[in-house]
Subunit: 356 residues, 2 copies
DNA sequence: CTGTTAGCGCCTTCAC
DNA sequence: GTGAAGGCGCTAACAG
């Protein structure tokens, strides 16, 4: 049985050195396989380390090497399925490369953002991934001054240390709205989340542009304060009010900033007696796992969120491994998801329930 | 504007000491407010630190104090909504207490579990939270030997360093199955996830016990290899097969290990032409945010997962703050969720769609 | 091939 | 009230 650690006192290379009758630098070198040493002592030291249950003290190592082999990730809300998939991708790559991962959330609060960044800097992380659109948009300068490689997810910014992985939200939203138009919807409202910054802006702009290019009014939109189910439901009142004022009718379709808002909207509309999609069609964005299973199944844009996390951390680690120091070649990767059409936007939908 | 960091070289207390014309220990003391120093130098040093953009090096501090003010959390799958809510609760408390959080996942793989634990130990975390039932059940001894305070979520184990926050799954599952029995269902199958260990065992046992006490057979159960939507759907074939063999009929109700399996099961049953709940009722466990929004709305047991994360980390921090060292008073907290009855188990359901 | 010396940045005795 | 040493555990130079 492998002994991870011994009781009471933690074993250090000095302890091993004492037992082996060598100096501790020799232990250090042989354990890391760096420099010269005889094969004989190598195996002997390895055996002793194993037996004593030696675990290298990464804190001490980090102090002298100035590299901690750790990275930090910042998200607005850990439990948001969009973010948690990104985190999962990041953690997968980090663990595979033997890096540790610090996790911090911001609740979209600038104060907290700074606190988390500050703590990461204090911990001497080697790099940071920011999946919090607010930070990316508003604190880009501060981040760039950190002199640490930083990868922004879904946020661009200019800076020699700032890199990015993003989804082409304009193109993605165009696919969704284009689909709604082809379905013949005329009064297409937008349920947004302005705090999301650029991401929100792109989706909204695509909606606006496409409607105008079809000679339709992009006049009705509402902002939800949080991008979750609850606020999606809560925003419907305002949306219906504005629609009445603008069109003298409810909308015939609602394009939502994300799936969570869409799910909340559908629930709320149901409670108000609307049939979906017969009375109102609803489309989302993200393609959460559950999107196919709600009532009705949700039309949405599939975002490769796990892959975005993977790419972001691969990019970060690549930057770190080049010289061991930051390399100054800002990069940006853009990905485009896929339109997934389901029942929430097509009255004639049979889909997965064929054969009932 | 607050300057988090200066370019190029990182400021240390020595730099501040040089500017202030004092020794670095004085800077250290005054910045931390420990020991004696004049108020005059305190404000002066604080001003200089501020101006230079000093950020304490937590790595160096951790090396000398032997406490890193960091904790680690281990989960099986970060993106599982049950786990991500726990993580959110843990992170909230940790951040509030100025602790940093390491995140590691295990994919239910023992090798990875050990790798993550080892990395946490190497990082000198002050404590660990394990929300990975496998680890808790099978590696309890190893964990206890770490001589670190450890809080297990949904897993008991004896050990002087092992504490726990858990949900009373037996009682919870009894509530669900009891409801199914009161609804008059007779052929109640169980869709489980054996790898979940004790948690799974409790829910299964409650199902079995309750059925037997009602003179019914608990003869049909199937294990899904992963507790997700996909495997929930994939397990239906086997479940129907066994039901035919056992009852000569499909089940009239299925109690699922968790909501994800239930959602997958519902989707798959729909595709096979079953009406829910008219042909088969389905109940889950967890009450994920989406449970109320799927088709049909899911009857389930609401688990206070965010609160479980909060309690676990509060408990851990309390253990740490007592003497700064581990205190040996194993504790256990048990919580009980709430049965949420929705449409998936009552044919007469109108629920939130009243007034359509 | 291996040992000696030095120092990462900080905190912690102690004198003064 | 403050400074001078010493060391946390490790790696990085150099000698030999």
């Amino acid at each position: 049985v492998i002994q991870i650690i011994l009781n009471k006192k933690r074993i250090s290379i000095k302890d091993i050195a004492a037992v082996a009758g060598v100096s501790h630098p020799t232990v250090s070198r042989s354990l890391r396989g760096e420099g010269r040493f005889s094969e004989a002592t190598r195996t002997r030291i390895a055996a002793i380390a194993q037996e004593l249950g030696y675990t290298p003290n990464l804190v001490a190592r980090g102090l002298v090497t100035q590299r901690t082999r750790s990275i930090g990730i910042i998200v607005t809300n850990i439990a948001d399925p969009f973010h948690s998939e990104i985190i999962r991708g990041v953690e997968y790559v980090a663990r595979g490369a033997d890096y540790s991962l610090f996790l911090g959330s911001t609740t979209a609060d600038p104060e907290q953002e700074l606190q988390v960044v500050r703590s990461f800097v204090g911990r001497n992380v080697d790099g940071i991934i920011v999946a919090s659109s607010q930070v990316g948009d508003r604190y880009a300068e501060i981040l760039d001054e950190l002199d640490l490689p930083i990868v922004l997810i879904n946020s661009h910014a200019d800076g020699s240390n700032l890199h990015s992985v993003s989804h082409d939200d304009y193109a993605g939203a165009s696919l969704v709205v284009g689909h709604l138009l082809r379905q013949g919807y005329q009064r297409i409202a937008f349920l947004g989340h302005r705090q999301a910054g650029r991401v929100h802006g792109e989706r909204r702009r695509a909606w606006q542009d496409l409607l105008r290019s079809h000679a339709l009014e992009a006049g009705v939109s509402v902002d939800a304060p949080e991008p979750n189910i609850e606020q999606g439901a809560a925003s419907i009142d305002a949306l219906l009010d504005r629609s009445s004022a603008f069109w003298n009718h409810p909308p015939d379709a609602i394009f939502c900033y994300n799936d969570l808002l869409a799910i909340g909207a559908i629930g709320s509309l149901h409670r108000r007696g609307f049939w979906i999609p017969q009375d109102v069609a609803v489309a989302g964005f993200d393609d959460l796992d559950v999107a196919a299973y709600i009532d009705p199944p949700l039309t949405t844009l599939h975002q490769p969120r796990y892959q975005m996390g993977v790419r972001a951390s691969e990019m970060l680690l690549a930057l770190l491994d080049q010289t061991g120091q930051t390399i100054e070649t800002p990069q940006g990767v853009s990905m485009l998801g896929e339109l997934i059409v389901r029942g929430s936007t097509q009255p004639e939908w049979q889909g997965e329930k064929d054969g009932r």
